[in-house]
Structures are given as C-alpha cells and as structure tokens.
Amino acid sequence: MSNTPAHTRPGSPRVITHAAALLRPFLALIIVGLVFFLIQWHKLGYTTDPTQLARMVTVMDLRMVAIQTVIVGTAAIGMTLVIASGGLDLSVGSAVALCSVVGAMAVRDGWPIALAAGAAVLVGAACGMYNGLLITILRLPPFIVTLGTLGLFRGVAKWIAGGMPVSADPGWLAAFVSPVPSPGWLVVAPGVWLMLALALVAAFALRRTVLGRHTIAVGSNELAAKYAGVHIARTKIMVYVSAGLFVGLAGLLQFARLTQGDPTVAIGIELDVIAAVVIGGASLSGGRGSVLGALVGAFMMAYMKNRCVRLGWPSFVQEMIVGHIIIIAVAIDLWRQRREAAA
C-alpha cells in the first residue's frame, strides 16, 4: 500500500471509489439523521403542519450539536493523524483535563488569556512528545504507553490542581465557545469554525506534505517505509506532538466551556474520539484516515445525544447505538481489507 488509500478494483474508476470513501461518513450521518427524523415524525403523528415540521430540527439544535462536537472533534483531528500512523492514543481524556487545568491556573494567576491559551496548547504538545518518545525509545506498543500516560496525565492534573476544579474567568475565550455566537451571522460558535479550519489544514497536511505522506507510509507498512528511507522514530514523534497540539487546544476549549479547569473532566473521552475517527473511515491497523470523516463521526455522536434529549430518551440509548455503529464501521473496514487482500 502506498501513500494514498488504495482500494482500487478492476472495473471501478479510481475517482468513484475515492469519492465513495470520502462520502461514506457523510452517508452514515445522513442515514442516522433520517432515522431520527422518521422516529420524531412518527411521534408527531406524521404531521404536515409546516410550523411543527420547522420545529423538529432548529438552528438552536444545530448550534448546540456543533458546540458539543468541538472538544471531541478537535481531539479527533489529532487522533486521526495518530491512527493513520498505525498508533493509538488512550491518554487523550487525561491530557484534555491536564491542559484545561493548566489553562485555568494560568488565567487564575493573572496571565493574559492568549498566553494561558498558548501554555495549555504547549502542555498538550508536551504530553504528545512524552508519548512519542516512550513509544519510540522503549519500542513499546502505543496502546501500552498511552494506557500508562492515561494514569500519569490524570494524576498530574489532580496534583497541580490540588484535587479540585480551578475556577477562573476565561475572558474572551468564553465567547469563543458560547453556543450562540455574538455576531449572529457566524451561526455557530467561533470555536467550531476554528475546528473546521484546522481540520482542513490537517487534511491537507496528511495528503500533501512530506510528513503527512510519511505518516501514512509508516502506518501502512513500517518496514517498507523504513527501507524507503523514512525516519520512523522522527515521524512518529512528530505525529504525537502534532496530535498533542490538538489535544491541548481541546483542553483549552474544555476550560472555556466549563469556566474552570476540572481535573476529573473528560474521563473516557478517548473512546468517543477513537469512535469518531473510526466512524470517519480510518483503519485501526493504520495507513488510512480521514480528518473530515472524523469530524463527521464526532458530529454524529453529538447529534444523537441531542436527539435523545428531544425524544425524551435517556442518554444510554445513544451509547447503545454508537456502540453498534462503531462495530459496523470496523466490520466494513475489515471486510474491505480482506477483499483487497484477495484481489
């Protein structure tokens, strides 16, 4: 497998398979959206009253879903890079908490907001670098290393915060993640636009830059990449550091959302992040990943949460459905890999 997702088969032009791969997560989102629409419509007695129909999915709903996508989505951009390189990062939730605490403490201690934001993001990068160094120097599986740092980062967060949430006024950052943005024409919070912009940059970097192509090469076949002259360790460390920057940003946004740095926040969020990336079309065995797909995956999960509230369902319904969507997404991925191997 080379540096582009290779699932070309005889008889189907490359462009179409490529487009299909790109659209697959959107397709899943549309189906989920349609199903929830039908359930809701059923409950409304298949009404044709335009005011009732207009109230089924409102702009406010989309604003809420968008802001609730931001933290998982931002972290998922980084996780896509990691998974495309054949790695995995279980420490995301803990690192988000640590970065949110760092941001809050810096603001509380009188740092300018921009400087505190920079500190939070850099701490995220440092967490990523620590993961990357341990993985490459000790030659351990990323699963093990990040399982260890999951405990480490959480512990450090609790330690520096003294075991309690650090309240601080996030200043202009609060407006950044306010679900209803102050210039109304933005429609969704500025933080959502930032996430989308960064996703475009990351998607471009993954496909068009040397580091991006090396990342996919390492994820596809590490040995082949090595013989082709790719510096494996340096690539991996760069991948984890870049992912760490996104995790740091996610932590900063988490601080802004809660107006406090909470060392117990985002427990288990890594599973949502991995789920978003997998639903988005990445392969857990590496070599393939779609940044935009991951955002769609994150959006889909937040959307289901929003719909469950709208339908009066408890939140575990959403967990049960997401669980199966992940299984289906991975099953499709493996099925395709076997087909490719056979072809």
């Binding site: 189906i31 406010m60 926040v265 339908l311 289906i328 087909r339």
Partner: protein, 346 residues
C-alpha cells in the same frame, strides 16, 4: 454510475442499526414530541418542564422525581421530563444536557446544578432564550431574579449544624471527630460541612480532624477514601459525612474493619441501606432532607412563574435529625421511606 458494492453494504448495515433504533423508539417512553392537542382546540398544550438532577444513581433523586411527578398530577396541564447525567461529577455532561433541553424548546427547566460555577453559562443561556430556570438543591453563582427564578433547597448550613450539635451531645462534649468531605465545587455539601464545623467549634472539648479529604462522587470512591482515613487516623470518637454516598462509603469501610457501632457516626441523607444501618445502630443519627418536597416545589415554582405569579427568591424545604429512637415516628417515616407510588403510574 456504478455504485461500489461496499457502499451498498454500508447502507444496508446502517439500516440494520437504524431499525434497532426504531425498535427502541417504539418501546421507549413517550417523550417530549407528543403532537400538541392545541391544534384541535380542546385544551392548551401542556407546559413541558424538564427536571435535571445532579445524577441518576442516588435514591435522593428518585425522591425528587417522585415529588416532581406529584406536582405534575396536582397542577394539571403540566408534563414533567426527568433526565440527568449518570455521574455526579460529570459537569460537561450536565452542561450539554441543559443546552440540549434549551434547543428542544422546553417551557422551563428545574435544575440541581452539580457545580456552582460550570453551570452558570448554560443557565444564563436558557434564561436569555426565554426558558426560565428554577434552581433546586445546590446553589449557583449567579443572580436570583435575573439569571434564575428561585432557589429551592434545604438549609444546608442548618442541617450540618444540627449534625454537629447532636455529635457534641453523643460525645458528651469531649473526643476526636473526623470529617470526610464530599466533593469540591458542590455548594450544598460545603455548607453542611461548614455548619458541622461551626457547631463543633462551640464545644471546647471536641477536637475536629479535617484532613480535607473528599469522598468523591460515588459510594466506591467514598469507600476508598474512608478506608484510607481510617488507616491513617486512630482513636476516633466520632465521624461525620455530608451526603448519602459519603455516608454509605464510610459505613462500608467501618463494617469491613469491624468498627461499625464503636464510633459515633452521624450521616446525611437517607437510603434503604442507611436506614437499615440506623436501625442496627451502626449509624447514630441521620440528618434527612425533604427531596420529595424539593421536586414538588421546584416544578410548582416553575409552573407558577410561567403562569405569571411572583416567586420567592429562596424557599427552604426543611431538615430533620433522625435517631434509632425517633425513626419510627410518622414524621420520620415520611422522609426515610418515601412514597414512590407517583412514579409507578406516569
């Protein structure tokens, strides 16, 4: 155009998932999207009130739910939806939940904020969006009247104070008393802890041991914290815990070390297990609140506000100290084995 086979499979697989979701939908409870009967002009659409507890695992919230249902039945024209985060330290989940309730267009929200700071922004957003919020159980760092309608809760400081005074009586004025705190950021329990500390400070012979340890959100975390404290501090004469999960965790730790009943133990809130421990005299006293009343008054205040009536900014729902000797009185029975019948016929 040729559609790749795997795309077809994706569609098929997702339809499978969708049908599962559909099945769930048909057996799920009837939610908020009932067709409004206003269309046929019979009676006006019911007021939809969302009640958001701090968590859904404690018995306390079941009582709040029962109270909210009682208000729903007695008021008429009201539809109560009870939904909350599973874990009582999941601030992010409660924030997202309130946001989704806003966008779902509920008429009012009755909220027990699990953090006095983190929930300020969503509450303000609700009020700005024309959805009044009534705060119950635990305080919020915001302006009553402008940011929310009313604060309906136990006088927690008084509850802690009663616990402290009873502890002093039990120990006849001398001894070492340990305080296991509940969780940072929880305003209600902080007040109870403060009330307890204030009452002990009035008795000269009592030494308060307050290591600043927190029980955490669940019985499991409380048990762990309690075990660590009981290993660290010996020669204790009394213990106070400020809520149900902390009290239960401490009870488990005391029992596993065969210390239950040997140390004067005052807890807060009631649950089946705690009431049984009180009867067995493993616990010497429980300060109980009136969560049924809290749920009932919360919904009532929200509805009356919507119907145009002025609401008191602060409503006290009362506390009572129950000992093994007084637990069989009718008054105590109402609080420690509450009537959940309202929950059975929704």
């Amino acid at each position: 155009m040729h559609i790749p086979t795997h795309t077809c499979r994706t569609i098929f697989a997702l339809f499978c998932a969708a049908s599962v979701a559909g099945l769930l939908g048909s057996c799920g409870r009837d939610g908020s999207d009932q067709p409004s009967s206003a269309a046929d002009g019979a009676d006006p659409a019911p007021l939809r009130i969302a009640v958001v507890p701090k968590g859904t695992t404690h018995d306390f919230w079941k009582s709040v739910h029962a109270g909210a249902k009682r208000a729903e039945h007695s008021l008429g024209g009201v539809e109560v939806t009870f939904t909350g985060p599973e874990r009582e330290d999941d601030r992010a989940q409660q924030v997202a939940l309130v946001e989704n309730l806003i966008s779902a267009g509920y008429d009012a929200i009755v909220l027990a904020p699990l953090d006095d700071t983190a929930l300020v922004a969503p509450v303000r957003l609700a009020t700005r969006s024309g959805i009044p919020v009534v705060i119950i159980d635990s305080g919020l760092n915001a302006e009553v009247g402008t940011d929310y309608v009313s604060f309906i809760a136990t006088d927690n400081h008084q509850g802690g104070r009663m616990a402290g005074q009873h502890m002093v009586e039990l120990l006849e004025g001398t001894g070492r008393v340990l305080l296991l705190r509940y969780q940072e950021g929880s305003a209600s329990t902080r007040l109870r802890e403060q009330g307890f500390v204030d009452a002990l400070a009035e008795a000269e012979g009592i030494e308060l041991i307050d290591p600043g340890r927190y029980a955490g959100a669940t019985r499991a975390t409380a048990q762990e914290a309690a075990e660590n404290l009981l290993t660290t501090y010996d020669n204790l004469d009394g213990i106070f815990c400020p809520n149900e999960s902390a009290t239960f965790g401490m009870l488990l730790a005391l029992r596993s070390r065969d210390m239950a009943g040997t140390i004067r133990f005052v807890g807060f809130d009631a649950s089946e297990g705690l009431v049984k421990a009180l009867a067995d005299r493993d616990i010497d006293a429980l300060v109980v609140q009136n969560p049924i009343r809290m749920g009932e008054l919360g919904v009532r205040a929200a509805v009356e506000h919507l119907r145009g009536a002025q609401q008191e900014p602060r409503i006290d729902t009362g506390v009572m100290l129950i000992t093994p000797d007084t637990m069989d009185s009718t008054e105590a029975r109402d609080l420690i084995s509450p009537d959940f019948s309202a929950l059975d016929n929704p």
